[in-house]
């Protein structure tokens, strides 16, 4: 691992030197690398297998307080030099901004060490993964069910050097596992889903999730229609993670504060949701499951930030520029630039504090309602100031009557103000004690840890 770091740092230093030579007053170079084995399953067979080796360097050059980014996958000396020159030439052409940019200096204390590496996971190849899947696929075939999903593993690395002396490196393994079990034709009959995003891959984890989906798919047969309306619901952690993904983006991303659309804006110190809700962002991920990332795209240590403390809005996440603009302290949450983002800060490791209840205890509070294992296509842009979101049930969802799981139900759509919904959680007993780690779509490295929730009166607004 140190050889990879040394090689990356040598390339980053080439980029810094080229940027300085091109006239930049400050230069930052970021290395993002991935060596991944990606496997997809569909209709009971492995449909796609690919190996991706990718590395990219992003250079930020600052001249007269104006900053410009350039990036390249050509990590030869010539390629890096051209990239740094592009960034510097761009920065030189920009007018002096009203809010001058200055790169952050090294943090006073280095990021904490985290356990993020697993040799066996790093070494997994397509053939071995296919061997792990073979008995799972056979079991599904025996049950006349189709298996689908993803089994992605590999190594991701992030390194940052700057002319101000920042020097940070992190490399870690990941296993992004998602399995669906389906009656055919897929999507039209019973199905179930489990997912886990963690730093280690083990056959027993794969088999355990597959056994759960197979058993649940059998229970989900012959679903019935339910009418739209308000239902008491128990949301499995996968469904909670779907909501939190949007909740973090619309409430605690720096762009939401820049535009004035965050539901937390101007409300720090004020109760914005239920008293049992405590939400943090913690890139170190404690000692629990998940995929930690201890540094951000500016090479700063990710700080543990309390966003909501017992229902009270407490803080948000910031990179160096956003913090300066909003008069806050940076928290080490720079996202860096990519296809979707031109920078800024965003929560990447949300953790919803656990409560006290087992899943059975959560279900036991429901007289008549729904147990929901997964949502589909959640969108949180309808009314961000109220955190109004919409989405649908997906895969196994069940009626719950007098605390017991009953018949499966067909998908219906919810439209709900999530701050208000979370305010209806009846204390720590409405929150599960067990937490699960889940990855995020469209955000590499995002990892949300959350328990199951009991929410009375969740609003469902239309049927399929």
């Amino acid at each position: 691992m140190s050889a990879a770091r040394d090689d990356a740092f040598a390339r980053l230093d080439d980029a810094l030197a080229a940027g300085r030579a091109a006239g930049a007053e400050q230069v930052e170079a970021v290395f993002r690398g991935q060596d991944a084995e990606l496997l997809r399953i569909g209709d009971g067979r492995i449909t796609q297998a690919q190996r991706i080796v990718e590395a990219r360097v992003v250079v930020r050059a600052v001249i007269g307080g104006a900053a410009a980014f350039a990036s390249t996958t050509d990590l030869t000396a010539d390629g890096l030099s051209a990239c740094a020159r592009t960034a510097a030439e761009r920065a030189a052409l920009l007018p002096p901004p009203a809010e001058p940019v200055s790169l952050p200096p090294p943090a006073p204390t280095p990021p904490a060490a985290v356990d993020a590496w697993d040799d066996a996971t790093a070494a997994l190849e397509a053939g071995e993964k296919a061997d792990w899947l073979a008995p799972v696929l056979a079991a599904h075939t025996r049950d006349q069910l189709a298996l689908a999903g993803r089994f992605h593993t590999g190594v991701r690395s992030l390194g940052v050097r700057s002319t101000l002396g920042v020097s940070a490196w992190h490399a870690g393994t990941f296993c992004d596992l998602a399995l669906s079990t389906l009656e055919r034709p897929a999507g039209h009959r019973a199905s179930s889903f489990r997912a886990r995003y963690d730093r280690v891959a083990r056959p027993e984890i794969l088999v355990g999730l597959a056994d759960e989906t197979r058993a649940e798919c059998h229970r989900a047969r012959d679903p019935v229609d339910v009418d739209p309306g308000r239902y008491d619901v128990v949301l499995a952690p996968t469904a909670v993670a779907d909501l939190l993904d949007w909740f973090g983006a619309i409430g605690f991303g720096s762009e939401a504060f820049d535009d004035g659309r965050s539901f937390a804006q101007g409300r720090f110190g004020e109760a914005i949701t239920g008293e049992c809700v405590t939400l943090t962002d913690d890139g170190l991920m404690g000692d629990g499951p998940g995929v930690p990332l201890p540094i951000d795209a500016e090479g700063q240590p990710r700080q543990r930030v309390t966003l909501i403390d017992h229902g009270v809005a407490r803080g948000s996440v910031w990179d160096s520029s956003g913090a300066r603009r909003h008069g806050c302290a940076a928290t080490g949450h720079a996202t860096g630039v990519d296809l979707f983002s031109t920078g800024g800060a965003s929560p990447m490791h949300l953790a919803l504090a656990a409560g006290t209840s087992s899943l059975e205890a959560l279900l036991g509070q429901v007289r008549r309602g729904l147990f929901i294992t997964r949502f589909h296509y959640v969108n949180g842009l309808i009314e961000p100031k109220r955190a109004v979101m919409t989405g649908l049930l997906r895969d196994a969802a069940f009626l719950v009557e007098d605390g017991r799981i009953g018949r499966a139900v067909r998908p219906i759509r919810f439209t709900e103000a999530i701050l208000e919904a979370f305010a209806r959680i009846p204390g720590p007993g409405g929150i599960g004690a067990a937490q699960e780690p889940h990855g995020g779509i469209n955000a590499e490295g995002k990892c949300t840890v959350c328990p199951a929730l009991y929410i009375p009166g969740f609003a469902f607004t239309s049927g399929r």
Binding site: L39, R40, I41, G42, D43, R45, I46, Q48, A49, Q50, R51, E54, R56, A66, A68, F69, A70, S71, T72, T73, D74, C83, T86, L94, P97, A126, G127, K129, A148, R150, S180, P185, A186, G187, H188, D259, R261, V337, L339, G343, H376, Y377, V378, L381, I382, P384, K385, V388, T390, R394, R413, F414, T415, E416, A417, E420, I441, E444, S462, R464
Partner: protein, 486 residues
């Protein structure tokens, strides 16, 4: 190493590792994204990448490897990885190999967007911001007007593609476009009005001439006035009314309720775990009534300005136009060679990859709604009580692409065949795809037909982002459900 030598080496190494057929793609991309906040440049990104993708066929299993490392040893390692990966997969049917072809394609570009000086781009956005601040609404509003946001995008993808059977293709695709938006916010509300379309704006396959044609300064004052007016506007009352969609929203309606469900891999259940499946099962082909008789939809990879236009898809199939819905009947799918062969049909030339690091999968090209007759005013003239909606704000649709719910930035009230001038905020409408398209009572004509580009269609796992197009004219739908507040 020259591109030709690199491609030859990759083909030779893949065959030597045990593939019976191989495709190699050498892809270079350049992407410029400039974002502006109140006319100040807020983000300036110039991304370039270059890499090699290798698709290897072993038996009837495909494997893929992508690498940014382009020296000989790394290319051979990628070839071996692709062949190893192929050993883990199995196709649903025997793989048929294509005949060898050669060809070239390049976007007709009037003005190279990468050559336009940044000062000129700043001046264009600055003029729009000044015009916005001079609007009557912005001058009156004080702190509720939160300023302008703008974005300019340019993307160029250059691809060399060769196969072990002798196909040799070269193409260069250039996209360019822009967005301008006005932001208004109060303590309890946030409203935005965008032009010509929300999110990335309208990004088309052309040069910078499409940005100049937008006339951002000319459209800026109305955006500010409407964003501010929406803060005080009422929400659309729940109920069923006639709906007219302009192209900025209709293009997304087409995307979600026509484009995705006509992807054949979804219909076969091969995208089920992440994206979902489709209500358009293969046994419903040529049998299911998708919409009204006037509804005709095609997947056309040859439409001028379309972001989904190309010479060849990413398995080397020449661009085609494939009917999806003819006279309201579901008649076709988006497909690549293997999937189409399972139905005994030719490929719809729709196997596309985001770049070298993604294996090609079934994607939209330009899924277009063919024009009807008349103008937008003609459509409005036929409405006694309805709403005209513009610019998407929120989108969601179920895993079979049946139940959808969209929110837009603004709804314009229509009474007695005329726009009343009243606006509603946060308009939400919802429905089921076949019933919605079945209630299409009018489509405006060719003079109102425009191409709308969407840059960020996500599909695959890991997600690949694809630029696609939807040509359409405004259309009218009866008996649509509005309002879905919790």
């Amino acid at each position: 190493m020259s591109p030709e030598a690199l491609l030859d080496l990759a083909l030779e190494a893949t065959r030597a590792a045990g593939a019976r057929f191989a495709e190699v793609r050498l892809v270079s991309r350049r992407r410029e994204r400039l974002t502006f906040r109140d006319a100040a440049l807020d983000g300036a990104v110039d991304e370039r990448d270059r890499g090699l993708g290798i698709r290897a066929l072993v038996g009837d299993g495909w494997g893929y490897a992508g690498t940014h490392r382009l020296d000989a040893a790394d290319v051979r390692a990628a070839a071996e990885a692709a062949v190893r990966a192929a050993g883990a997969t199995r196709s649903a049917a025997p793989v048929m190999l294509p005949p060898a072809i050669t060809g070239r394609y390049a976007t007709p570009v009037g003005e190279n967007p990468f050559a336009v000086p940044i000062g000129e781009k700043l001046a264009l956005v600055g003029a729009a911001d000044t015009a916005m601040r001079a609007s009557a609404g912005a001058r009156r509003a004080g702190s509720a007007f939160k300023g302008s946001r703008a974005e300019l995008s340019a993307l160029r993808t250059e691809t060399r593609f060769r196969t072990s059977h002798g196909t040799d293709l070269e193409q260069s695709v250039t996209l360019c476009g822009a967005k301008l938006a006005a932001i208004a916010a109060s303590e309890t509300d946030f409203q935005v009005r965008s032009y010509p379309k929300s999110f990335e704006g309208n990004v088309l396959q052309a040069g910078f001439e499409v940005v100049r044609a937008l006339d951002l300064p000319g459209r800026a004052p109305l955006l500010a006035d409407e964003a501010l007016a929406l803060l005080d506007a009422e929400v659309v009352p729940a109920g069923r009314r006639t709906l007219i969609l302009d192209g900025s929203q209709l293009s997304l309606q087409i995307h979600e309720s026509v484009g995705h469900p006509t992807e054949l891999d979804r219909a076969f259940g091969e995208e089920i775990s992440l994206a979902g499946a489709s209500f358009l099962l293969p046994e419903r082909l040529d049998a299911l009534r998708f919409g009204a008789d006037r509804v005709n939809l095609v997947a056309d990879a040859t439409t001028p300005l379309g972001p989904g236009t190309f010479g060849f898809d990413d398995e080397g199939t020449p661009a085609t136009s494939t009917p999806l819905v003819r006279d309201g009947l579901f008649v076709g799918y988006l497909s690549g060679r293997d999937a189409a062969a399972r139905l005994g049909r030719p490929s719809a030339s729709a196997l596309r990859a985001e770049s070298w690091y993604g294996l090609p999968i079934v994607r939209m090209t330009n899924v277009n709604l063919l024009p009807g007759a008349g103008t937008l005013d003609d459509l409005i003239g036929g409405v006694d009580d309805g709403l005209l909606l513009s610019a998407n704000k929120s989108w969601s649709i179920d895993d079979l692409r049946l139940n959808f719910q969209f929110a837009c930035e603004v709804a314009y009230e229509i009474k007695g065949g005329r726009r009343t001038g009243r606006l509603f905020k946060n308009p939400v409408y919802w429905g089921r795809s076949p019933e919605f398209w079945g209630n299409c009572t009018a489509i405006a004509g060719p003079e109102a037909w425009e191409m709308w580009g969407w840059l960020f269609c996500g599909k695959g796992d890991p997600v690949q982002i694809m630029h696609v197009g939807h040509g359409c004219a405004p259309a009218r739908f009866d008996d649509v459900s509005f309002g879905a507040r919790s």
